[in-house]
Structures are given as structure tokens and as C-alpha cells.
Amino acid sequence: MSYVLAKSQNEDIHKAGECGGAVTSILKYLLDEEIVDGVLAISPCDDVYDGIPTFVTNSEDLMKTAGSYHCAPTMIGDLVQKYLYDKKVAVTAKPCDMRAIEELIIRHKINKDNIYVIGLNCGGTVPPVAGRKMIDLFYEADPDDVVSEEIDKGQFIIELADGSEEAVKIHDLENEGYGRRTNCQRCDVKIPRKANIACGNWGAEDGWTFIEINDEKGQEMIDGAKKAGILETKNPADPAVEGRKKVEGIMIKMANKIQDKMYPTVNEMDDWNRCISCYACRDVCPICWCYENCELNKPFFKDEQNVPPTPIAFQGVRLSHMSFSCVDCGQCDDVCPMDIPVSLIFDKLQKKYYNRTGYVAGVSDDVKPPLYSPEKTEL
């Protein structure tokens, strides 16, 4: 593991990208040198609130993916394993994306040799629809005028078309039920250390990206991009490394506090009561990869005639299958038509499991979750 500060040598990318455009430059290098077939990154579709995963095969199209989007709570692990399994791809990944990718690599659903992961440090994402409402309520601005947004120093900052900026403390927003998604609020993995490199602005000087190189593949990427003349790097000073560590520490501490507050609030039975067994949570879950072979599709678990459905089998089986591998990406919350806090329930169990075994899904180095190891030990 080593640290490096980087910025783009390409003027256009430098201007369009965030923090010197290092990420876009590395992606451009990977595409131009044909190291990968394509890049899966987020780009805005209709407006800044509408970030959707875009597969780019031409480095000229990369420009539209430049910049960071906080209103794009997407999951790409699922897309890679479903549709890009046999391609060499580079992806940009938030910590939860990376955790999902890692869990899928363990399950042989993603080929580790085929995927280049550029990790992005993440302080959280904001749901687009609620985010617009929040800007309408807490900022003196029209949500449509916002050209970019940023989370920095505990504030959610929006930049308007006329160049002015407005900031509100995230803490205040979250007290009112807005702000980041609830799973992001309690997320304690802020830097994707399983990715080849982890990029971010924490600790970096203006116009530079702070990169943590996690493995050899990551080192090759940086060296290659430098050699291709698209990336400029320098070594960070010690205070920068310390500063980054401090930011991460504060964020994790805050997350732990929120966890303690949030876990006791959920009342599972009350929430399952609304379940309509639409299987949206299962279908969107990056860890649930069995699809038509899912045990819940077996005739003995189908209760179609049963309205209302009994959640004991559906949720119970899902809990027993993957709750210990829950990466807390919050996709299940996002897609649940009944607003059941699914990820909170699953994450709570993951934490319990962690306390018992020390296994953190998508972060721990153990190849198999202890639940499935052949070791002759009891919990």
C-alpha cells in the first residue's frame, strides 16, 4: 500500500473532472491502451440528479462521465456480473459497490482478472427525488438550477448556474429526515480498500486527487498512465496523509454513533407487515445472484395464493442466505415499494455476525464467510 497525489495532464479532463481529473485520466489510459474493453461509470442522463451507469467503449465519450454525482445511488456490482461477466472492464466504485464486487468475486460471479476497480472515497449518496425536495426546502434555490453538488466538511454544498454556492450542514438535514440515504448515514466503510486504487479529495491539495494504491494492479495502472503522459503524480506530504486519516476517522466515528441510534429503532414485525412479496429487494440485491434458481422460486416456498403473503419464509430464507454478507448498499431500501427499511434489518444482522465472528462482508480478507468454512470450531 502506498499513497500518491495525482492530476490529469490533459487540459479538457482537468477542467471537466473533479480534483484534477485523475480518475477520468486513468480510465482514458485503460481504454486507449486497450487494457479494458470498456468502462462502466456514472454519467448524468437528464440532469445532475439522474446519474445512471453508462458503459463507455470510446475514450472520447469518457468526458460525459467526468465529475462526481452524489444523487446517483446506483449499484454496479450487479450489472457487471449480469451483463459484463466475459468482458474486461474498468469500473468506478463506491465502497459499497466494491464490497459487492468483492463478495461476488468470492462467489465466482465476477472474474477478478477481468475487472479493474477505481475506488472512490464516499461520504454518502443522496436519493434524487428526496434530494430535490430537500434543496427546495432548505436552500434558497430552484433544484433545476443546480449544476453540481458536493459533500465536504460535514456540509452538503450545491453550486448554482450563476456560480454561487450554498451550503447546509448535513447533520441538520438528516435531523429533518433528508440528507444522505439512511444506509449511507450508518456506513462505516468510507474508503474502498479492496479496490485496486482508492481515490478521493480527503487530504489532497486543491486540484489534486489523493490516491491510495492497494495492490500491484493498482500500481501498474498509475505507472502506466504516468508513462502514457496523461497523469502527473507527486508524493503527498505527511500532513496530507494524516489529514485524510483524520477525515476518515471522524466519519467512521459519526457512522458508529448513528448505528447505535438507528439499530434499536427498527421493529421488524411491524415493517414486514407491509411486505407484498414483490421480490424487488431480492432482485436488486447484488449478493443474491441465484436468479431463477433461487430457493424462493421453488414450489414449496411459493405462496402466491396467500394474500397477504407470509414474510416468514420469504424474508427468513433471504436473511439466512445472505444477511451475513450484506454490504449495506441500501438498494433494497431504494426499491422497496412499501418503504420497508430492509437494509437496516439485514445490516443489523451483519453487525451481530461481525461481533461474533469478526467477518465484515466485502472487507474482510477471509475467503469464505465463517458460516461456510469447514473449520471444526463453534461460534
Binding site: M269, F300, A313, S320, P374, E375, T377, L379
Partner: protein, 110 residues
Amino acid sequence: MADDLKIVGLLCNWCCYGGADTAGTARMQYPSNVRIIRVMCSGRISPSMIFKAFQEGADGVFVGGCHIGDCHYDAGNYKWSRRSNMNGFQLPKVKNSKQPWKNSIKLFQS
């Protein structure tokens, strides 16, 4: 034990099921509200089977496996002991409040 409780017993072929069988031939009584299902090893039981039992209206599930260290298949009972731990976490999350049943998942060792 109350007579109206329905208990599903998942018993390992090599010890607990053998024990129940021997008890039967020796005319020893055991509660009639235990419905016994023979499995080849407690390690063969998946958590889904427990949930299925509860979905079908069981009030409790009893799992009988070998002594730790005595598994006929080397380590099956260790596997179930770890799984049962997880099951213990999960069950209170899905039990139907309108249909009270005892959270009686425990690893009984014969």
C-alpha cells in the same frame, strides 16, 4: 409440554434418530407432539428448512445432532452449530406476532 404445541424434530440418522428409535423399541415414552424427520446429518439442515417448518405452522423446531467431535461425517455438526447461531438471530426478526410460537431453536446434543 403443552399438548397443542407442534414440534418438528429434525434428527440425525446416526445418533438422535437412533436414540429415538431405541427409545421406541424399549417402550419408553416421548412426547407425541414431536413430528420426527430423519436427516442423514445435522449439517445437512439448511436454515430454510427451519423457516419452512414455521411457515407451515410449527410452534417449534428441535434439531438433534451428534456430540461435538463425534460427527459421522467429520464436521457436519460444527456446521449446523454455526448456522443455528445465525438462525437464532434471524428468527425473532420474522416471527409472526399474531401466531406466537416459542423461539425454541436450540442445538440439543444427544
